[in-house]
């Protein structure tokens, strides 16, 4: 893609840009959730949209996650393209009946009579001192559910481009943002850009090891890669961008070159999504890897509140550096 003019904006602004562009483009796009209207979202990702598009299309809801998600499913079945916000990933628990039992399955179990163009946006992750009930990373839950697509952008550009694709997609997309990342800045094209779901991107080329990472942890991986470069270690960093569909081809091609795989994510390691990537690689052939794969992820504990503990639990760039070195042997 030819690079046009770029703007340096935050992750929140990137989300907002995508929402605004899509609300403009298509009258059937709706936005609702707690505090997304007048207030503009607790992280500012929807500021001004109610004013611009009116209360009919951009709505505040009561604290009713089951209804927020269920209404979105209903409106999608009637041909609208709702974007429902669930204020924290942790409360996707409340919304999961509508997402997992209804949105994901309605098309299949009706023999393809319906389309479900609905997006469930929700910020996850820790690092901001919100403690155990407001810091989870649950991508593994939703990636496990046939019928859903799952996006977890790490850079503003991807956040904007993937969200536009998610809104245009005729399938339910769980769009996972990161609450400690909304102020993170990056270059985003001024021109329209839709980034297809299911296409990984090599964010940094390298020959010594392949690091796969997404969401906020991706930026840690890129930082780690710089540190490692200073020590003469040249890692490739791949961002799958969406976990479902998962672009294994790009990962496999890279691992085929480097022979080393590190997966870094903020979610708990045990039964986390990293295991899927590792497994898909080794299923293809044990000889793809020169060394055992390494996961850099949270230990098996809830997210603690206090900073020393939270920092310890959430993978940091230094942990990824150490993980890469462990993998290099």
């Amino acid at each position: 893609m030819a690079e046009g003019k770029l703007r340096n904006i935050t992750y929140a602004q990137a989300i907002r840009t995508a929402l605004r562009e899509e609300l403009k483009r298509d009258e059937r796009v709706l936005l609702f959730g707690e505090d997304v209207g007048y207030y503009g979202g607790v992280y500012g990702a929807t500021v001004g949209l109610q004013k611009e598009f009116g209360e009919d299309r951009v709505r505040d809801t009561p604290i009713s996650e089951m209804a927020i998600a269920g209404v979105a499913v209903g409106a999608a079945l009637a041909g609208y393209r709702p974007v429902a916000e669930i204020m924290y990933v942790d409360f996707l628990a409340h919304a999961s009946d509508a997402i997992v039992n209804n949105a994901a399955k309605w098309r299949y179990m009706s023999g393809e009579q319906f389309r479900l163009p609905v997006v469930f946006r929700s910020p996850g992750g820790g690092g901001a001192g919100y403690a155990a009930q407001h810091s989870q990373s649950l991508e593994a839950w939703f990636a496990h559910i046939p019928g859903l697509k799952v996006a977890a952008p790490g850079l503003p550009r991807d956040a904007r481009g993937l969200l536009k694709a998610a809104i245009r997609d005729d399938n339910p997309v769980v769009f996972l943002e990161h609450k400690a990342h909304y102020t993170f800045k990056g270059e985003v094209p001024v021109a329209e850009e839709v980034i297809p779901l299911g296409v990984a991107e090599v964010k940094r080329s390298g020959k010594d090891a392949t690091v796969v990472s997404w969401s906020k942890t991706l930026t840690h991986a890129l930082e780690a890669a710089e540190t490692l470069a200073g020590e003469g270690i040249d890692v490739e960093v791949i961002d799958p961008r969406t976990l479902q569909p998962l672009d294994m081809a790009t990962i496999l091609a890279s691992v085929g070159r480097t022979g080393r795989l590190i997966v870094a994510h903020e979610a708990v390691e045990f039964a986390g999504f990293g295991a899927e990537i590792v497994t898909q690689v080794v299923e293809r052939g044990l000889d793809l890897l020169k060394r055992p794969p390494v996961r850099v992820a949270a230990p098996f504990v809830p997210i603690p509140y206090s900073e020393p503990m939270e920092r310890f639990v959430i993978p940091q760039p230094t942990d990824i550096v150490a993980g890469v070195k462990r993998c290099l042997g």
């Binding site: 009706s110 009579q113 245009r168």
Partner: protein, 326 residues
């Protein structure tokens, strides 16, 4: 009785018979012959609600149903053969064999489908109604729910939201006194079910669910109000399920006498027949003709469905995602 009213009544009668005979076919033929899998929840006894309510709606109105939805589907005009085919898992069924008895849907008839997750259809109905309201197309969305579903958080959230946003939703609650084995007095703190939506400013109305014209009249006026004011309505129909919760329910939680006695006194089809005969709408032989004709129609649909092809095993792999988008 005006000719038009007489025709309407006979039309209701036909549909009630259709439901009854369809369900009897499931109970007496499909179940013993193991022609379907999982469970099938029969609506025998609740025909007047399905028919009276759905016929009070327009064809464009959305209906979203429950696990006990064969009756709603038939009243909405679904094809019996394709229903049987689906229940028997055939490729030609409504859902290509992927849904079965609990997931019948016909998008073309605005029968959004059955949702057997109790209560879970109510927020969806609010969403359908939101779409109708935004579209300004004058449609309403009707959600059926059992009295057991009143206790789900989903219903509460949906009712509050529907009232708050002034959405044209009809919450149609079929109080058949049981949720599986649990009787009403063990599930709802309040027995005046019509008051269960007052907390959202939605006045409720209790209706005899065994008299099809009462159901029709109540839903007609509720639908009119809901359509005009764009505001939810809540109706509770007193009815009874004469069969078990599903086809293999042993019904240890009630006596056979209870069910029989209810049946003798409250069967909505008998009630309608008596009335029609009594007021000379139809003579007895005509009811027999109707019964024979509809029975034959149901039988034919079943026989035709029975001859239909099975899906291939690999058909399971398709249809998860829609291609494309905008």
């Amino acid at each position: 009785m005006a000719v038009k009213d007489r025709e309407r009544l006979l039309h209701f009668y036909e549909d009630m018979l259709r439901i009854r005979f369809f369900e009897e076919q499931v109970r007496d033929v499909l179940y013993p012959q193991r022609l379907f899998r999982g469970s099938s929840h029969l609506a025998i006894g609740q025909e007047a609600v399905a028919v009276g309510a759905v016929h009070a709606l327009q064809a464009e109105d959305y209906v979203i149903s429950t696990h006990r939805g064969h009756g709603h589907a038939i009243a909405k005009g679904l094809d019996l053969q394709r229903m049987f085919a689906e229940i028997m898992g055939r490729r030609t069924g409504y859902d290509r064999g992927k849904g079965g008895s609990m997931h019948l849907a016909d998008a073309s008839l605005n029968f959004i489908g059955e949702n057997p997750v109790v209560g879970s259809n109510t927020p969806m109905a609010a969403g359908l109604a939101l779409a109708a309201k935004l579209e300004g197309n004058g449609r309403v969305a009707a959600a059926f729910l059992g009295e057991g579903a009143l206790n789900t958080g989903a219903f509460h959230e949906a009712a509050n939201l529907a009232a708050l946003w002034s959405l044209p939703v009809l919450f149609l609650c079929e109080n058949n006194l049981y949720a599986i084995s649990v009787p009403l007095d063990k599930s709802s703190a309040l027995q005046d079910l019509e008051r269960r939506a007052e907390a959202y400013g939605i006045p409720g109305r209790r209706v005899n669910g065994m008299r099809v014209m009462e159901v029709y009249d109540a839903v007609s006026s509720a639908a009119e109000a809901t359509r005009e004011r764009s505001f939810p309505s809540f109706l509770v129909f007193d009815t009874y399920r004469f069969e078990g919760h599903h086809t293999s329910d042993k019904q240890t939680y009630r006596t056979q006498e209870e069910a029989l006695e209810e049946f003798r006194q409250r069967d909505p089809i008998h009630i309608l027949e008596f009335e029609m005969i009594d007021d000379h709408t139809v003579p007895i032989p005509t009811t027999i003709e109707y019964r024979d004709r509809i029975r034959a129609e149901v039988d034919a649909a079943f026989e035709a469905a029975l001859a239909e092809p099975w899906p291939a095993p690999e058909d399971a792999l398709t249809g998860v995602y829609a291609e494309g988008g905008e």
